[in-house]
């Protein structure tokens, strides 16, 4: 496959995942509306099995495509410079742009933990029978879990802050103005991250309680 074709697939799947992140965040923020509303949200989803499973299948496909293209391209990129420089300085490459693979791997690790935690409920077997609201609140009172969630979101923020403008460049939207997309990417990454981080933080601080 041509490298640019792989990049286009990576950009499209990445943008799809960004759309999911936004929708998922809107769902999660309902925790501030209290247990009734928050617990009703997954219940509602379960009433639309076709919709739920279409979304799940699309998500799994997008993740698979994104990860496969990232492996394909990263391997080739590493092979393109077999002998490293003894001394090399970056003039303007951002930290985010240089740590996309690392960030992606952290996100993947986090995702598996997150599913095990709140979807499959393996992490705290003693809370497994509780409702989602109580499970969420009790687990984020654990500092270690809250800290891990926050740390993962920092990596997500980096990945998104570069991924947004990078995808715009790959899809050639930046032909007219690259700066707009760069700042839109920073704004999107910041908004998403603050939204997600606020949940474990406000629970840990006791602002949201069982």
């Amino acid at each position: 496959m041509a490298s640019i074709s792989a990049k286009i697939l990576m950009a499209l799947s990445g943008l799809f995942l960004m759309g999911f992140l936004l929708v998922h965040l809107l769902g999660n923020l309902q925790i501030y509306a209290g247990p009734e509303v928050f617990n009703a949200y997954p219940e509602t989803l379960r009433h639309y099995p076709v919709l739920l499973w279409t979304a799940r299948v699309l998500l799994i496909l997008a993740f698979t495509l994104h990860i496969l293209t990232s492996i394909y391209l990263s391997t080739k990129n590493k092979a393109a410079r077999p002998v490293a420089y003894a001394q090399k300085h970056s003039v303007q490459a951002s930290l985010a742009s240089r740590t996309m693979l690392l960030g992606g791997l952290v996100i993947l690790g986090f995702l598996l933990f997150h599913l095990a935690h709140l979807t499959w409920r393996w992490v705290f077997p003693e809370y497994a029978a509780l409702d989602l609201y109580t499970l969420t609140v009790l687990s984020f009172q654990n500092s270690l879990v809250a800290a891990f969630y926050v740390l993962a979101q920092v990596f997500l923020a980096l990945h998104l802050s570069h991924g947004f403008s990078s995808a715009a460049q790959t899809l050639s939207l930046t032909r007219w103005c690259a700066t707009t997309f760069r700042f839109a990417g920073y704004a999107f990454a910041l908004a998403i991250t603050l939204g997600y981080v606020s949940i474990p933080v406000s629970i840990w601080l006791g602002l949201v309680h069982a």
Binding site: I4, N77, Y85
Partner: protein
């Protein structure tokens, strides 16, 4: 300004198959008005009088237009002055007593020939794959026979400033040639002469670029920072567009 006494750490390698290493040299009494290549000439003259092998490096025009002089100076292709080739880099930008590290371009697609000289014919093969306009040559047409909008002329001209030096590949963490290929594509994409073959051109040049073993672009923008002609990564967006259309 007084003369400079410098120390050099230069990559020496006999040929593509032997093992290379850094060798230290003294470069005393260097005039700040010299170019970087003239400084290397002085060091080489001394090496020759001592019956040692001079440092191999490429140069031709020595005025920033041919793209032959290729070396990574203190970790940055062509050194840290923006928009400057190594031959146009003046020694006044260095401090007395400084140690300067000099390395060749490092990329699989640019195999090393000797010391600082690498084989950049991969670029020629990409050009030959489609970076041209097929016309029957005859007498030159009148300059106003085909009208070109000012904006397009400017964009084509910006891209045509590329001298094919390979600094973009050298700077990229993926050794990607997208800025080079983007320049060649953009230069023709904005002109009516380039239009009939645009699809075939984009596809063929990208295929050749991949086949040569260059990496892909991850948009770190490092290439445009070191480009001696300061070509913008907009040409990469244009290359992506031309490839999508093809």
């Amino acid at each position: 300004m007084s003369l400079l006494n410098l120390k050099l750490r230069v990559w020496r390698q006999k040929n593509g198959t032997s093992k290379g290493a850094f060798v230290n040299y003294d470069a005393p009494n260097i005039s700040p008005d010299m170019s970087f290549l003239e400084m290397l000439d002085v060091v080489n003259e001394k090496l020759i009088t001592q019956n040692q092998e001079p440092i191999a490096f490429e140069s031709d025009c020595r005025e920033g237009i041919c793209g032959a002089c290729s070396m990574v100076i203190n970790g940055i292709p062509h050194g840290k002055e923006r928009g400057t080739t190594a031959c146009q880099l003046h020694m006044r930008h260095f401090k007395n007593g400084e140690t300067i590290v000099i390395e060749p371009w490092r990329a699989r697609a640019f195999p090393l020939i000797k010391d600082l000289v690498v084989d950049r014919t991969a670029f020629d093969r990409i050009q030959q794959a489609g970076g041209f306009v097929s016309v029957n040559t005859g007498s030159a047409p009148d300059a106003h026979a085909i009208l070109v909008h000012k904006d397009n002329a400017e964009k084509a001209f910006d891209a045509a400033a590329c001298i094919g030096c390979g600094a973009c590949v050298a700077a990229c963490k993926n050794a990607s040639a997208m800025l080079f290929v983007g320049s060649k594509i953009s230069q023709l994409a904005h002109l009516p002469q380039g239009d009939p073959e645009r699809k075939r051109r984009a596809k063929a040049m990208v295929m050749q670029m991949d086949a040569e073993g260059f990496g892909s672009c991850t948009n770190t923008l490092e290439c445009e920072a070191v480009c001696p002609k300061e070509i913008s990564t907009r040409v990469i967006a244009e290359l992506n567009w031309e490839f999508m259309r093809s």
